[in-house]
Symmetry: C2
DNA sequence: TTCGAATTTTTTGTATACAAGAATGTTGAC
DNA sequence: GTCAACATTCTTGTATACAAAAAATTCGAA
């Protein structure tokens, strides 16, 4: 891993943090990382500033940068906000969605179903993401779309864990159908509720998430 | 304005952008600003990274940093998201709020009323902020609280404009009362709707906001 | 004049140098 | 052996130096 530009460094570090290469509390050694990336400390420090604002690292003055992995509580909070943001997207989209977008959703669902049948987790994941991002876009609010996508991205590593649990893909599919129905018939509150429940981490999903957290820590 | 630390520079620049000292599209000259702040380019560039992520500045590679003031459309989108986030806070708070917090809200409202009577815009503003931040906190979700407060801060300069319009403070007060009622009686949907309508920019408020935008541009 | 190529000047991006604070290790007193 | 004061080493924060890209300017041809 050498000779990267400053623009990419933040992204590369983000990847490392997401992938779990860095544990919570780890100090990001400027000189060591500079060597690894084949750059000087300057672009690294600029990357730290970005990561600090997005909450992935904590910048302690005169001490350095420390990675901050969300704990169980913060994670639950983030998922709750995710569910609410998706609900908002759905409520707005129910009033603003286009016919083309509805077709996109149906297409994504069809491909999701194929992936489920083929037990293709990656394929399911890709189409699932397209499904959700289409709804963000159809909220008709670019700012909301971006903010929702930002949190979606941040929760990605944890959501991926979720999909591996047995039966989750099939259940998720059924929920997708209900969401499309609510959107197609222009029912704001129904769309919002369907999306909120789809994304919310409750009951069994809660236990699965906690279990995956523990296995990560080991 | 001299001898500031890097930590403060981002904040100082933010202030300048919020206050309207910088127009949309203005280039932030590294050497000129470095002189003004009495520092070298290095800490300034670190500050730029932070501002870029929060959307206040656009970083064009090999070109520099340009301030990005939200246009009318983006502003409307941000207010729509603000209304929805406050609604979410309200819905959750209705289920989770404490008696002490309810008293805080009533206290803030009382002081708001005094400020209205005294035509004390600043005083009103302070207590209004306390009112809203109490609700964010009572959502029981720290992550939601922080995200909502972040957007609240970003919209501050535009909201302040709003309050100057005649009759707005009195109407706002009445809405606050309704919000407290809904929260006190533990009605999630009613609280959410009351807060959404309170924050949403519609009808007359829309025209006022647009008018204040025009006067700023002059 | 007007346009365009070549040259100069700015400005950004990165490396390096250096000062000051934090961490670490050592020594000596008890 | 333990603890504290001092010295040393590391690390961060900032300034400066330098290379490369972009912008501005000059100059000559049509």
């Amino acid at each position: 891993m050498e000779q990267r530009r400053a623009d990419n460094i933040a992204e590369a570090l983000e990847e490392h943090i997401f992938s779990g290469s860095f544990q919570d509390g780890d100090r990001l050694d400027e000189v060591r990382l500079a060597e690894q990336f084949g750059v000087s400390r300057t672009p690294l420090r600029e990357a730290f500033q970005r990561l600090a604002l997005s909450g992935l690292v904590e910048l302690v003055p005169r001490r350095g940068a420390f990675v901050r992995q969300p704990g169980p509580i913060e994670l639950m909070e983030m998922f709750e906000v995710m569910a609410e943001l998706e609900a908002v997207c759905g409520r707005l989209a129910a009033m603003r969605i286009s016919e083309e977008a509805l077709d996109d959703l149906r297409d994504a669902n069809a491909k999701c179903q194929k992936a489920v049948d083929a037990k293709d987790t990656d394929g399911y994941y890709t189409e699932n993401e397209r499904f959700h991002k289409t709804i963000y876009r159809q909220s008709g609010n670019r700012f909301l779309e971006q903010e929702t996508a930002k949190l979606h991205k941040r929760l990605k590593p944890f959501r991926r864990q979720q999909l591996k649990f047995r039966g989750r893909m099939a259940q998720s599919m059924a929920e997708h159908e209900a969401i499309v129905d609510a959107l197609a018939t222009g029912k704001p509150e129904e769309s919002a509720n369907a999306l909120r429940n789809h994304v919310a981490v409750q009951g069994e999903k809660f236990h699965n998430l906690m279990a995956s957290l523990k296995s990560k820590a080991e």
